[in-house]
Subunit: 187 residues, 2 copies
C-alpha cells in the first residue's frame, strides 16, 4: 500500500506536469486522485521540487529506454533517425500532452535546481543518441555530428511545442517532413 501510494503520486504528478507544466502539479488534486490528504504527500516526497525532480528523472530514464529499443530494433541508423520524431509524436497523440522536458524548458527560470538538473539530462541523452546515429552514418567528425544532433533535437522539440498550440498532430508531421525536405533530418 505504501509503495502503491508513492507510485500513484508519481503517476498523477507526471500526467499533471505533461498537461500543465511544473506549476500545474497541485498537491490537493493529486491527493484526491491518489485517495490521501495533501499533507500525506510530504511523507513520500519532501517538497514539490523533489516530487517534480523525481517525475522528470523517471521521464528521461523511460525515454532513454525507448531510444535504446529503437537502436536495437532498427540497426540501420537512417531508419533509426526516421523513427526518432515518433517519441515526441506519441505524447501529442496521448491527449495533446507535451514531452515533459521541453515543456519545463519554458518554465525553466522558475524551476527549482533539482528539477533543472533532470531537464538538462533529458536533452543530453537525446543529443547523445542522435549524435551516435549520425556518426554511424559517417556524416562528419564527432564535433560536426554533435552540432547537427543538437539542431535536430531542438527543431523536433520546437515542432512539438508549436503543434500543441494548434492541437494539430498533422502540423507536427508536416514540420518534420519540412525538416527532412530541407535536409536537416536525413531521409
Amino acid at each position: 500500500m505504501s509503495e502503491n501510494a508513492r507510485e500513484a503520486i508519481l503517476e498523477a504528478a507526471k500526467i499533471a506536469a505533461q498537461h500543465f507544466g511544473y506549476s500545474g502539479i497541485n498537491f490537493r488534486s493529486i491527493g484526491e486522485t491518489v485517495g490521501i490528504k495533501n499533507a500525506s504527500i510530504y511523507y513520500h516526497f519532501p517538497s514539490k521540487a523533489e516530487l517534480g525532480a523525481a517525475v522528470a528523472k523517471r521521464y528521461w530514464e523511460d525515454t532513454a529506454g525507448v531510444l535504446e529499443a529503437i537502436h536495437r530494433e532498427t540497426p540501420d541508423p537512417r531508419d533509426s533517425l526516421r523513427r526518432y520524431p515518433s517519441i515526441f509524436r506519441t505524447s501529442l497523440e496521448n491527449g495533446n500532452r507535451l514531452c515533459l522536458s521541453s515543456f519545463m524548458a519554458a518554465e525553466y527560470q522558475d524551476l527549482p535546481e533539482p528539477v533543472k538538473k533532470e531537464i538538462v539530462a533529458f536533452a543530453d541523452i537525446n543529443v547523445a543518441w542522435l549524435a551516435a546515429r549520425l556518426i554511424e552514418l559517417e556524416l562528419g567528425d564527432a564535433e560536426t555530428c554533435q552540432r547537427r544532433a543538437r539542431a535536430i533535437y531542438t527543431a523536433v522539440a520546437g515542432a512539438q511545442l508549436i503543434a500543441r498550440t494548434r492541437a494539430d498532430i498533422g502540423l507536427f508531421d508536416e514540420l518534420v517532413e519540412s525538416y527532412q525536405e530541407a535536409g536537416l533530418l536525413p531521409v
Copy 2:
C-alpha cells in the same frame, strides 16, 4: 497619471511574463512595482486573463513593426532572412528572457482563451513574413513557401527555448548556424 498607471502595469506584466510566463504575472508584485495596491489593477484590467492578452497583443504588434522595419531596411530577401533570428536573439540578450509567445506556447493548455488568441497571432505574423521573403526568393510556390516558413519559425523558436535552459547565447547562434548549414535557413 491614470494613463501612466495603465502603461506601467502593462510594462511590469510584460517583464514578468518574459521571465516566468503567464503564471509568473503576480498582481501583488506588479502593484508594488507600479506603486498601487493589487486591487487597483482591476480598475485598469478586468482580469489577469485580459491583462495577459493585452501584453501578448502588444508584443506581437511590436514584433510586426520590427519585421516591417527589417523588410524596409533590407530589400534583399536573403539578407532579411539572415536577420530574422536576431529578433529571438535580442530577448535572450536582455536578461535571458524568452520571446513571450513561444514562452506561453508551453503554458498553452493552461491559458485563458483571449491570451491564446494573441499567441497564435504572433506565430501567424512571423510565418506570413517568412513566407513572403521565401516567395521573393522564388523558392517554390505559395504552399511550399508557407510550409518552409512554418518550419523556420518553429526551429528558431525552439532554438531560443533550448538556449535559454543553458543560459548560453552562443548555443542559440550555433543552432541557427546548424540550420543554415543543413539548408533549412537560406544562407
